[in-house]
Subunit: 144 residues, 2 copies
Amino acid sequence: MAYSKNDKVLKEAASRLKSLGIRPLSHRVAVYGHLMHVNNHPSVEEIYSELKQSIPTLSKTTVYNVLDHLCEHHAVRKIVIEGREARYDAMTHDHIHFKCNTCNLIYDIEQPKVPQLNLPAGYEVTTTQVYIEGLCPHCAKHMH
Amino acid sequence: MAYSKNDKVLKEAASRLKSLGIRPLSHRVAVYGHLMHVNNHPSVEEIYSELKQSIPTLSKTTVYNVLDHLCEHHAVRKIVIEGREARYDAMTHDHIHFKCNTCNLIYDIEQPKVPQLNLPAGYEVTTTQVYIEGLCPHCAKHMH
DNA sequence: ATATTTGCAAATAATTTGCAGTCGA
DNA sequence: TCGACTGCAAATTATTTGCAAATAT
C-alpha cells in the first residue's frame, strides 16, 4: 500500500487537487491519493499509520490539517455518523452509506442513487447524505 | 422546563417505555420524557444540566448509561453527523435532518418523508437516516 | 520576504471504565 | 437476596491549540 513517488495514483491525485483549486503540496497529495485509492472509509488514525510508513516525518496534526483543508475545499467528505472517530471519503460522487450491524462494516451503495428530495419552500440543499443501517448480504446468509 | 412528578410528559414517557419493553426507572423516564418534550437535538451535556436541576443527584455517567440503554432498545436515536458530541432524538417517527451551514441549527423536516430505497438484493434495512446540509429559509432571506 | 504549512507537546472535550454502594423485583 | 442500576473518580480517546521551525511562491 506504499506508493512510489511516480505512482499513477499520486499524479492523478495532484491533478485533481489542482483542478479543485488546491495547491498540491506533498502531504495533501499523499492523503488525498490514499483516500482515492482505498475503498473503505479510513479514520485519521488509519490514514496516519498507513502513510507514516512511506512518509516517516508525517505527524498526525498534519493529517488533521490536511483533511480539514480538503474538506473545506470539498475534495473530501467527513462522515461521522456514529462512534467517536470521524471517517473520510474521497468525494468522487454521491453514494449511500450502509452499515451492517453485525459485521460493522460500512459499505458504499452506488445503486440506487441518493434521491433528490423536494424540501419545503425556502430550503436550499447543498449536500444530501443517506445512511442506512441493517444487515449486509453476507451476514444475512450466515443467519441461517 | 422542570417537570413535576405527575407531569403528563412523564406519564406518557413511562407508558411508552413500558410498551417498548423497557423498565420505566425514574432516570430513564426523566431522560426519555425530556427528549420527547424538547424539539431540539440535545447533547449529553445539555440533557444532563437540564435534568440536574430537578434531579440533583443525577450523574453524567447515568445519562450516558440511560441513553445507551434507550438506544439499544430503539427508544431514542443517536445522531452524530458531525462535530464531536453526539446528539439524541426521541424516535417517535422518521424525519429528515437539515443543517443550515450559516446558522448551524438542525431542523427537523417532516415533509417529504424519508424515502424507502430499494437496495441491491440481500441487504436488509433496519433504519434509514437522511441528513441534508444547506441554507435554511431564514438565512437565505438574509443573504440579500 | 511573506504567508502558509508542518510537527511536537500540551491542552481540551467527550466518552468509557472500574468499582463500591444502592435500588427494585 | 440477586442482578440491575447509579455515581464518583480516574482513564482513555479523538481532536484542537500554541508555537517555533521549515517550506513554497
